[in-house]
Symmetry: C2
Subunit: 334 residues, 2 copies
DNA sequence: GCAGAAAATGTAAACGTTTACAGCGCCCTC
DNA sequence: GAGGGCGCTGTAAACGTTTACATTTTCTGC
């Protein structure tokens, strides 16, 4: 295929003006059926495809949304992009992603280089230290913040019901009779992790159970960190009777560590995770978790963004929260 | 921030011509240090960022690479994008992704709408039925085919050592004394799955072992399909002594099914997977697998593509294969 | 047949850049 | 003091579209 044909080539070949070709391609204005046929035939023969950049320049629309993500591992990333992409594509939008942004510097330059290439942005900045960057954006530029800390200062925002999810899991464990419930925290300074921590502590407080520093151990969302954390917890005396890992990957690592310590799940130690990844039901024992519909998170974010793009007049800023659901399986003694 | 400033605004405000501003921004031509300072100061004050589309239009470069993916689940997607994105960004390129393409129709329209927005494409079309689409592309347009079937007709290609990986795993199992080795195949018409199947059969043949239709059962790369497949296999009489699932997700499903059938792994049935996802070592028993460095696959693809973009003169078409490594753990009796 | 409206098409400006070319000072050299 | 080179800057065309407006063609009703 040629592929390098421009609208002018088509116009010349079809014996019409560029305006007519443009009208045909946009199936908009009223153009005689005969002409239309000729133009379409020529366009097909020449393999003509409108040039995206030229089009964006004049229309001031790129039909593209940008997504800025931190350095994410595992299925989360996949799922959230899937949700965004499917929703966006249904409305005729592209998705341009840029991932693995750690520091502010990095983020800013990624942000700038997207200027003029996207009609709006979905920003996922779970590290609360750099969340302030959102204010650097042009006024009135459509932005949706995803899993970001508190003040959304003038932007739409969406997040997961971290607090509620963690709260309900801990409440469930307490209901099962557990009194010493340990947690494996997520990455430091991470918004979601902090919210889950708040939920955990609130549930303890509401049940009049004492917190205990030794029961709150650090993790970084990886299987290995869950393994390490649980190894330590298993040696504690008195031992916790339950371990709530702030994601499933760490929970799986914990299961492995507990097994090696020759303890039984859930009899000696109950285990729970967060996310409910597909694999959760297939590990041994099947893992209790807080179910999160991640692709829905992406889809909702995209919907929010497209709304903001298509109706730029000062809408109220919305903050949406996608709900979680408690999934009880054998790992905490269902 | 304003964000809507154009080069003209900056030029006027700084009392110079647009050409000078352009030169400053591209830090290319030699411009007097004094002028440079003034322009930079004004640009910063006005929050000026060059308009991507306008720039691409004139330079005919978008600094963006496109990635077309099928409907992918799990970590594969994440990892491959990570590899691509990191490599591309290092060279100053953006990545625009479009996923979840099932049929040819869908793929074609996605392809067209990227025209003029990308300098090159990474195409992952594992479904061998639509692989022919690559020939629809403009001549000389940089393209890298990823995990695609055979004839790369004029394009660079990269894939995983599926055949070799599967071969070596089966060879290992045979070496362990297994004679009835079942497999759980991947999605039908999937290139990788077919290659792994070839590897399996070749290994059997080379060891003079008979194939058997009942030992080759269908799967679709999901945990659930692995579970179902293994349930069936466990009821077979005589039972296979080993099950090789064509990815780890199915292997985990299989472990779960075998456990429910009250059989032991690896004593009654050994199990092996493909991919070596991070979780493989944490399941019970730790899963033997064929290790694949997926992000390296993405990174190599990006490198290949950037090479083709930057040196458009007719290079030889390359076909790269990223190697796999056998990882033996307890699930097949290490 | 004709005026006038409606339908179809063409003309040209605009979008925000980059860049070839031209122009202007200025200094150096003879 | 004229000529030439050099360093810096400006002018304007070009990239491939869309679209307001102008123009031509075709109807319509009388």
């Amino acid at each position: 295929m040629a592929g390098s044909a421009t609208i002018k080539h088509v116009a010349k070949e079809a014996g019409v003006s560029v305006a007519t070709v443009s009208r045909v391609m946009n199936k908009s204005a009223l153009v005689a059926e005969g002409t239309r046929q000729v133009v379409l035939e020529v366009a097909a023969r020449l393999g003509y495809t409108p040039h995206g950049a030229a089009r964006s320049l004049i229309t001031n629309r790129t039909s593209t949304v940008g997504v800025l993500l931190p350095d994410l591992y595992g299925e989360f990333f996949s799922e959230v992009i899937r949700g965004i992409d499917q929703t966006a594509r249904r409305e005729g939008y592209h998705v341009i992603v840029s991932s693995s942004h750690s520091d502010q510097q990095d983020l800013e330059s990624a942000l700038r280089s997207m200027w003029g290439r996207v009609d709006g942005l979905i920003l996922m900045i779970p590290d609360i230290r750099v969340a302030g960057i959102a204010s650097q954006l042009p006024d009135g530029f459509p932005v949706v913040l995803m899993n970001c800390a508190g003040d959304t200062n003038g932007h739409d925002a969406i997040s997961i019901a971290n607090y509620e999810g963690a709260y309900s899991m801990v409440q469930h464990l307490i209901g099962k009779g557990h009194r010493r419930i340990a947690i494996i925290k997520g990455a430091d300074k991470n918004y979601d992790a902090n919210e889950r921590l708040r939920g955990y502590r609130a549930a303890l407080r509401d049940a009049a159970l004492p917190g205990e520093a030794a029961l709150e151990v650090a993790g970084d969302f990886s299987e290995a960190s869950g393994y390490d954390a649980a190894s330590g917890l298993a040696r504690l005396d008195p031992r916790p009777t339950a371990i709530f890992a702030f994601n499933d990957a760490m929970a799986v690592g914990a299961l492995s560590a507990i097994r090696e310590a020759r303890l039984r799940v859930p009899e000696d130690i109950a285990v729970a995770g967060f996310d409910d990844i597909p694999m959760a039901r297939y590990v041994e024992p099947p893992l209790s978790s807080v179910h999160v519909d991640i692709s829905a998170l992406g889809a909702r974010a995209a919907t929010l963004l497209l709304g903001a793009i298509q109706h730029p007049n000062g809408r109220e800023n919305r903050r949406e929260i996608v709900p979680t659901a408690l999934v009880v399986r054998r790992s905490c003694g269902s």
